[in-house]
């Protein structure tokens, strides 16, 4: 094994050295321009994709040069077990990625930590490990692509896709990447044997191969649906692309202005005041409530889910939120020197959630800024270099945004809308008690927009729940208008269901294509992931027609799968298991069976028997 490892390392060492130097230079260049430790997910995805492609290319080249028949015999026909030979090759590949990907990245992290005042914490320190795991996953996927039967050898890419869509954050993301890496390693070891391209032999090997293959088939089915959607768009009848969306539908509601939406919401109002409200809406300002926080950051996350940096031009300082200290750390804009720490109040107390700058409010001094963290809106006082709480919603709720409305401030949380008296908002040390609280009549994940109109005797608040109506996870689209009187009583004014613009079978494609694979996908994406409080939706029950379609497909898969399995070269238990799998998983298992289990080779025709040798 050691000899194979050394031989492979010798083979790639110059290329790896060149890659490492190039990688280091690119990182150093970008690190001069931006703080690479504080980047959003799309930047991380770009880097991850580069590392994954690096791994894929290495795996493809390494195994591609060995897998030619004579090379393969030369490699494996020696008194060394195939597993040990594989370990030598993979070890060399892993060390190559370590040298080419991890070392330059670790050098940059070390430079950040000890050569700059930038924040380097656990979430930045583990980035090289994440890069290594992603590159290794790519390497294994590339290697598997050439070692396994070409009919399903691309299935390893599914595990890379898993990393890309997984919701896990911080060290938990590393755990997901490590799991994907181990799975891919197992696939490579299963495929790494003298008789390349043959079907896996043991039940465990079959399962390890079949799950990604079936998931790949499932993803291809969804991709086919996406291609169909593109054709739909080209036809010009896709609801999102029609010049005039379907009347009464949720796409139409989403395209309305706030005023139009409020008027549409009042259309079904039966209150005696409805006619008056309609007149007032036409004449008054309709405020769409701003939402400065679109997603909630998780402490220790690898990517910045939300912005965590802001500049104070008055004091010439730059503030970056530290996940480790749960406070902002300052650096001078002019000299880059450390400029202190920023917590809450005079005691510099740590924030209880990841804090994000949220712009400015009317009346705050130049250089001041607002910050949202958890259930509280804070004001950063530039002159005093302090952070003081200004508005709070009850514990357990997430403050998402604020909108000035005349002399008041509307505050949107994930559960309610609050109206706060703005006159003394920026005075004092303690947040004022809201004048009104309007519970949101739905789930935060469904809420598309909220409008508010100030009346003579209160407020009209409109909630439109269409955010995920085009998917099977969103509530059926609807709009609700509430009236809040001066005493704070909330009275429903009108609720009307909006038409579904997308056909049922379109919305449930991911489910009826294979309910089991859908569940597996959801579980995989959510593995080790924190609960997203903003993602909760009122999931409607699956319609009977969709269930019937899934059942028919499963039954068809069961019948065809049984017929196919009995004609394939496998044992009786394997055939039974495949048949059962086709019935449970559906089309992905059926296609998996066709791809993985080889045809039974027919008996040679007796008429072409060899003539006995003399």
């Amino acid at each position: 094994m050691r000899d194979i490892f050394k031989a492979e390392w010798l083979r790639y060492r110059l290329w790896i050295l060149a890659y490492a130097v190039g990688h280091l230079l690119v990182l150093a260049f970008f690190n001069r321009l931006v703080d690479l430790g504080q980047q959003p997910i799309n930047v991380r995805r770009l880097f991850g994709a580069v590392y994954a492609i690096t791994g894929i290319l290495l795996g493809l080249h390494q195994m591609g040069t060995w897998r030619r028949p004579n090379q393969w015999i030369n490699l494996l026909h020696r008194p060394v077990a195939p597993r040990r030979i594989a370990a030598g090759l993979i070890g060399a590949g892993a060390v190559a990625l370590l040298a080419g990907v991890v070392l330059p990245l670790a050098a940059i992290v070390a430079w950040q930590a000890w050569g700059t005042p930038r924040i380097v914490e656990l979430r930045q320190a583990i980035l090289p490990a994440a890069a290594l795991l992603i590159a290794l996953c790519g390497y294994f996927a590339g290697a598997y692509g050439l070692l396994a039967d070409r009919r399903y050898s691309a299935a390893g890419l599914v595990l890379l896709a898993w990393i890309a869509v997984a919701d896990a954050s911080g060290p938990a993301a590393l755990a997901v990447q490590a799991l994907a890496c181990l799975w891919l390693l197992a696939m490579v070891l299963i495929a790494f044997r003298p008789d390349l391209g043959e079907a896996p032999r043991s039940a465990m090997a079959t399962v390890v191969t079949a799950v990604p293959v079936q998931m790949a088939v499932y993803m291809l089915l969804l991709l086919a649906g996406f291609v169909g959607e593109l054709l739909w768009i080209m036809q010009g009848t896709h609801p999102n692309n029609m010049s005039t969306p379907p009347r009464g539908g949720h796409v139409e509601a989403e395209r309305m202005s706030g005023r139009e939406r409020m008027i549409a919401g009042l259309a079904g109002a039966t209150s005696t005041d409805a006619a008056l409200w309609r007149e007032q809406v036409v004449l008054s300002d309709v405020h769409e409530l701003d939402r400065q926080v679109r997603s909630i950051g998780t402490r220790g996350e690898l990517n910045n889910t939300m912005p965590i940096e802001f500049d104070d031009p008055e004091t010439r300082s730059h503030w970056t939120f530290s996940h480790g200290r749960m406070r902002f750390e300052g650096t001078g804009l002019a000299d880059g020197r450390p400029a202190g720490e920023l917590g809450i109040g005079g005691g510099n107390v740590a924030f209880d959630a990841v804090a994000s700058p949220a712009g400015v409010l009317p009346g705050i001094a130049k250089g001041d800024a607002t910050i949202i963290a958890g259930n509280t809106l804070y004001q950063y006082l530039s002159a005093a270099r302090r952070v003081v709480p200004r508005v709070s919603v009850p514990h357990g709720e997430w403050l998402l945004g604020t909108t000035p409305i005349g002399g008041s401030l509307a505050v949107l949380s994930d559960r309610s809308v609050y109206v706060v008296d703005g006159r003394h908002l920026l005075d004092g040390e303690t947040p004022p008690v809201p004048r009104y609280r309007v519970p949101i009549p739905g789930e935060p994940g469904d809420l598309y927009t909220t409008e508010l109109v100030e009346l003579v005797d209160g407020y009209l608040v409109s909630f439109t729940f269409t955010q995920r109506a085009h998917t099977m996870l969103g509530a059926p689209p609807y709009q609700t208008v509430l009236w809040v009187d001066d005493a704070g009583r909330v009275t429903p004014v009108a609720t009307h269901a909006l038409h579904q613009d997308f056909p049922t079978f379109y919305r449930y494609t991911a489910w009826w294509a294979s309910p089991v694979m859908y569940r597996v996908r959801e579980m995989a994406a959510g593995l080790f992931a924190p609960v997203d409080p903003l993602g909760t939706t009122a999931i409607p029950p699956i319609p009977g027609s969709v269930r019937a379609l899934a059942a028919v497909l499963a039954l068809l898969s069961l019948c065809i799968g049984g017929w196919v399995a009995w004609r394939r070269a496998s044992s009786l238990p394997a055939r039974a298991a495949w048949t059962l799998g086709c019935g449970i998983v559906g089309i992905p298992a059926l296609v998996g069976l066709l791809l993985i289990v080889p045809r039974r080779e027919g008996i040679v025709d007796d008429t072409v028997h060899a003539v006995p040798a003399t």
Binding site: L10, P69, I73, P79, P194, E601, V608, A610, P612, T614
Partner: protein
């Protein structure tokens, strides 16, 4: 059925069949090769020779039948079994980026029975420097280096799959001389696969002919050559209908004289020709090259079972 299963066979197949889809690469092959001496396997392209080696070494599963090498089921070869089997292919695939010394050191560590004298003896026939990279060696030097590595492993069975393919005359001669006169070959059974009949004639003790995946002949080369005879007949009129000529492999008419290559025909063939109107008949010996080529060319003229 079990009569061929004893310790004396280095290669043994029974009803071995390999199909690629509808194409038959090996067709119910029953082959038993005894240990010792040099066995040549010849056959046209597509005869199934390389497929046979790949099946025997466990790199390709058989469609049906059994394949055993050194007494072990080919599908269950262990690292220690592989240590006993040397294999040299026509590409002489070695790690081109490594030096001769590095490759040698790696092989020495991996093969417990490594014989440095055997390696030195064989590599001494070639102008190979230990500091050279393998990729810098000429094709002939690489072939010699590969042979030296294989023989130094002291294998019980050495499989040479067209090892002289692409070599020039000098390199080919050096390779064969090494193979024939090296002490390292002693005690080793050699399977030599080649299209070059002059090589086969020179090195082989036993000639195995394969055609379209099936076994057509197993015998010493001279025995096979003696089975093929070249008859020259002066027949003033049209010769006999080829379909009536017994054992016919090839028929030609040159300058009015009929030439027949026939298999397994004795002096009675002269009587046959005379009966067909021949005024004068001569029998000439044929080279192994011509015998094998005509045998393989005449696909449907299968030899009669002995």
């Amino acid at each position: 059925m079990n009569e061929t299963r004893h310790a004396g066979y280095v290669i043994e197949t029974r009803g071995l069949t390999k199909r690629y889809g509808k194409k038959i690469a090996i067709d119910h092959l029953d082959l038993a090769i005894e240990s010792g001496s040099i066995h040549a396997i010849v056959g046209a392209n597509g005869a199934g020779k390389s497929t046979l080696f790949r099946v025997l070494l466990g790199f390709l599963p058989a469609t049906s039948g059994e394949a055993r090498i050194l007494g072990r089921d080919s599908r269950r070869l262990t690292p220690s079994d592989r240590e006993r089997i040397g294999f040299v292919n026509e590409e002489h695939t070695l790690q081109g980026w490594m030096t001769v010394a590095a490759v040698t050191a790696m092989q020495r560590r991996q093969y417990p029975r490594w014989s440095q004298p055997a390696f030195d003896e064989v590599i001494g026939h070639y102008n190979v420097q230990v500091g050279q990279k393998v990729s810098q060696l000429s094709r002939g030097e690489r072939a010699g280096f590969n042979l030296a590595l294989s023989l130094a492993q002291r294998p019980e069975l050495l499989v040479l799959d067209e090892p002289t393919l692409g070599l020039d005359v000098v390199a080919k001669r050096a390779f064969l001389e090494t193979l024939l006169h090296s002490n390292a070959v002693e005690g080793c059974t050699v399977i030599y696969c080649s299209h070059q009949m002059e090589e086969v004639e020179r090195v082989a003790d036993n000639l195995i002919i394969m055609e379209r995946g099936a076994l057509r002949n197993v015998s010493p080369p001279d025995d096979f050559r003696s089975r093929v005879s070249h008859w020259i007949a002066d027949i003033p009129f049209r010769g006999p209908d080829p379909r009536t000529i017994p054992g016919l492999l090839d028929a030609q008419r040159i300058d009015g004289i009929h030439h027949y290559l026939v298999l397994d025909q004795g002096e009675e063939f002269a009587e046959f020709l005379h009966a067909c109107g021949a005024r004068d008949v001569h029998r000439l010996p044929v080279s192994l090259d011509r015998a094998v080529n005509s045998f393989l060319s005449k696909q449907h003229a299968a030899p009669v079972a002995a």
